[in-house]
């Protein structure tokens, strides 16, 4: 089973740059938490601090309630997988996978047995004798994953592990990671800037912005109803002032976030279509309702009948009040 991970008031500076500011976060045991945020927000630093690769300037790291802030990586039960596979180029895939076991002093036979188990789990048995140079990007990242998993980590830290892979491979591996997390039940912290990944994988979602943790909670509620302005911005929601909100029939005494996919577009009305764009699997329509500009997500069946300049109405199905900046 996984370990609970807790950060208490963690700050980290690199020279004059503040990478993390006073971050507190409790990751429940055996859950999969996705850390989402724009590049440079401090996501990777957060992960490295949990892994023990960086020491926070202030604050503490607790694992299962034990303060491990000053402990080296290898006693934390946490293993990290990096953006690039970082396989040891002079070792075969099998040697790479067995590396951590070797470092722990596990006997050769036991190591081989555990390597066999893990390569079966990841379906990469055929790669064992290859050198990293001979592996494709996806294969290499699988080997890297196996190299981490073989240690039976209680915490697995993944730093954008799929960002260098092409789309279909990314989706395939994403499902794999989810499956493995369910099967092995370890705690997983998954850093990404890809919302698809966040939504598909996360039990929990943590949103980091400018070194601060701005939103944290159950993945769906964070996604649908963020309460922080910066989180809403990261998620790409429409952010409306109370006055603007009123124009589309939402009354609130604070700014609100309206997710584009929770707005219904209706034919005819007081708004005008200013832009129509197609995305993968869905469409985006920008409309201006008086002084308020809104982005609405629509299905392909609808988008074909809309063009710029059309009149339209909007119906907000769901919104959240932004109580925090």
């Amino acid at each position: 089973m996984g370990y609970e991970v807790e950060l208490v008031n963690v700050s980290k500076r690199f020279g004059g740059f503040t990478a993390l500011r006073n971050v507190s976060l409790k990751v429940p045991a055996s859950s999969l938490t996705v850390v989402l945020g724009p590049s440079g927000a401090g996501k990777t630093t957060l992960l490295r601090i949990v892994a023990g690769l960086e020491r926070p300037d202030e604050g503490k790291v607790l694992i299962e309630g034990v303060d491990v802030t000053d402990e080296p990586p290898w006693v934390r039960g946490a293993v990290m997988v990096f953006q690039r596979p970082a396989l040891f180029p002079h070792m075969s895939a099998a040697e790479n996978i067995a590396f951590g076991l070797e470092a722990m002093g596990v006997s050769k036979d036991e190591a081989m047995a555990r390597v066999r188990d893990i390569v079966d789990l990841l379906r990469i048995r055929h790669l064992l004798s290859k050198l990293p140079d001979e592996l494709s990007g996806g294969e290499a990242q699988r080997v890297a994953l196996a190299r981490a998993l073989v240690l039976g980590p209680r915490i697995l830290l993944l730093d954008e592990p799929l960002s260098n892979l092409d789309l279909s491979l990314r989706e395939e591996l994403r499902a794999e990671i989810r499956r493995i997390q369910r099967e092995l039940g370890m705690t997983m912290l998954y850093v990404t800037h890809d919302q698809d990944e966040a939504l598909e994988l996360g039990d929990y979602l943590a949103i980091i912005y400018g070194g601060e943790l701005v939103e944290w909670g159950d993945a769906m509620s964070v996604y649908e109803s963020p309460s922080s302005m910066r989180a809403a911005r990261v998620l790409g929601h429409n952010i409306l002032s109370p006055d603007c909100a009123r124009e589309i029939g939402v009354s609130a005494n604070a700014p609100v976030a309206v997710p584009p996919h929770r707005i219904l577009l209706i034919e005819g009305g007081g708004c005008r279509v200013t832009r129509v764009a197609r995305r993968r699997s869905y469409g985006v329509v920008d409309v201006a309702c008086g002084g308020t500009r809104l982005r609405v997500a629509v299905g392909y069946d609808i988008i074909d009948s809309i063009k710029v300049g059309d009149r339209a109405g909007v119906e907000v199905r769901r919104y959240s009040v932004l109580k925090r900046p």
Partner: protein
């Protein structure tokens, strides 16, 4: 806690090994570390003159070497890197050539009855005296300047060169002023300082080519120590010498720190406009430099087969490889060859082992610390070793010790560059997987920096083969090396034997350097 203890352990052992290196290096100075002793040597007119000579010749030699080497580096960028490669390999050979070979080369080429000086008598000036000392020092250090400057010039961004060229309408001066000088100046300063250090404390060259009129302080250290047995005067002279070397070392360290990191597989940018006259001048510069660097070495080889006045001979080689006791050496030639190889192998093994420990534990600190060893001249080091260990350690151990210390700065530098190539990603991956200490080193760092191990070992061998001053001070005939018997044979004017010994030694260094020239090039 165990982690802390291990950390403390490595820090302590690191400090211990640094002490082991520095204690002998500095204990050589101890007997002379009093104002009275220093005052006494400085009151000697000839020491003051030697001081001035050391300073003058080193300033002139460094200026010339830096200037010519810098020009050659600029010229090198105008030709393709493939064409530049043999010239750089050649330069490396002449930089690493043992000093006695250089002496032999200059004598063979420019000396009395020299190959060139017989045809062009004014060239005799390069074969002895002030001119000889400076010319040999320049020979030695052109490659140093050339490689340092070249490696900074290849780091010049292509866009910058293009931009300056476009805005200057193809004129030459703006390129020199805006690109070459700003980029090359740390390299020029570093190579001036380093060359100065080598020249100021030069021993073999002034000893043989200079004579009493052109002796450096280092030569007088030898004179005091070995001929007058005045250990205090020797140490006091070494202290005076150290003061100057320390200043130059600081200058070098500062300038070296400003150099860009060594380029990895970078494409060469021609920093000068590709005009015809530029190419012609570049080509001419390179041809002259290449000739200057090769001819002495070639002459050594040729002269090793020439019996003065009697045609061809192999007599020299017979003497070098003779198993019979040689009266001019005090041991057999064969034994000397054996000594030379033995010291070289042992130096490589010890320097590389110790060097990897220091570089792994100490990293940049070790590198910087060992760089300061530049300020300790070989004779100062040898005096220190004799002072501290002479009573109970036998000469061969002391010689290997001296060679190891001489090789360590280079060894650590090249190993560290290798370690750095392991990269942060791999290092992090290994750490989170639980690899640490010796396991991490043996399983990850060492195999990944294998290349730099070859380089480090080769450099250690070459340093050992070439070391003259410290060996000469410590060794008795049964432990002489080829470098020393070149001098012994010279002493009895058996020129074929002296040149043959030079050729054998040159062949050893050259083989190693050529085998590794590709790797070494990247390293320089």
């Amino acid at each position: 806690m165990r982690v802390r203890a291990a950390y403390a352990g490595s820090v302590i052992s690191f400090l211990l090994s640094i002490t082991l290196i520095y204690a002998p290096a500095l204990s050589g100075l101890a007997p002379g570390l009093s104002l009275a002793e220093i005052g006494k040597v400085l009151s000697q007119d000839f020491i003051r003159r030697a001081f001035i000579f050391s300073l003058t010749q080193a300033s002139i030699s460094s200026a010339l070497a830096t200037l010519i080497g810098g020009a050659a580096a600029v010229a090198l960028t105008t030709i393709s890197s493939r064409a530049a490669s043999p010239i750089r390999a050649l330069a490396l050979l002449s930089f690493m050539a043992p000093p006695m070979i250089v002496v032999s080369g200059f004598t063979a080429l420019y000396g009395r009855g020299g190959i060139l000086s017989s045809a062009v008598p004014p060239l005799r000036a390069l074969g002895e005296g002030f001119g000889g000392v400076v010319a040999a020092h320049v020979f030695y250090n052109i490659p140093l300047a050339m490689n340092l400057v070249y490696s900074t010039l290849v780091a010049v961004p292509r866009e910058l060169v293009d931009a300056v060229r476009i805005y200057s309408g193809g004129r030459l001066w703006p390129v020199i002023k805006r690109v070459i000088i700003p980029y090359a100046s740390p390299a020029l300063i570093a190579s001036y300082a380093l060359t100065f250090i080598y020249c100021f404390a030069s021993f073999a060259i002034p000893l043989t080519l200079g004579g009493p009129a052109y002796s450096t302080l280092e030569v007088y250290i030898y004179y005091f120590y070995r001929m007058l047995f005045d250990y205090e005067a020797a140490a006091a002279t070494a202290t005076v010498q150290l003061a100057v070397l320390a200043i130059a070392t600081v200058l070098f360290t500062l300038a070296y720190a400003r150099l860009p990191p060594p380029p990895v597989g970078r494409r060469v940018v021609a920093v000068l406009p590709g005009r015809k006259y530029v190419r012609t001048v570049s080509f001419a510069v390179l041809a002259v430099v290449a000739a200057y660097l090769t001819l002495p070495l070639i002459s050594v080889v040729i002269k090793s087969f020439l019996d003065p006045g009697n045609g061809l001979t192999l007599r020299g080689y017979e003497r070098v490889f003779s198993p019979v006791f040689d009266q001019a050496i005090g041991a057999s030639g064969m034994r000397v060859v054996g000594n030379t190889l033995y010291f070289a192998v042992m130096t490589a093994v010890i320097a590389v082992s110790a060097g990897s420990f220091l570089a792994f534990i100490g990293g940049a600190v070790a590198d910087a610390l060992l760089t300061t060893l530049l300020a300790i001249s070989p004779l100062t080091l040898a005096m220190g070793l004799l002072n501290m260990y002479g009573g109970f350690l036998p000469a061969p151990v002391l010689i290997i010790f001296a060679h190891t210390i001489a090789a360590l700065p280079l060894v650590v530098k090249s190993l560290r560059l290798g370690f750095l190539r392991v990269g942060r990603e791999i290092a992090d991956a290994a750490r989170v997987l639980g690899a640490r200490g010796l396991f991490y080193f043996l399983r990850v760092v060492a195999p990944l920096s294998r290349g730099s191990y070859f380089v480090a070992a080769a450099l250690a061998v070459v340093v050992s083969l070439g070391e003259f001053g410290a060996t000469y001070l410590i060794a008795r005939p049964e432990f002489y090396t080829l470098g020393i018997v070149i001098y012994s044979f010279r002493g009895v004017r058996d020129w074929p034997a002296s040149y043959a010994a030079s050729t054998v030694l040159l062949a050893m260094s050259a083989t190693l350097l050529l085998l590794l020239s590709r790797r070494l090039e990247r390293w320089m």
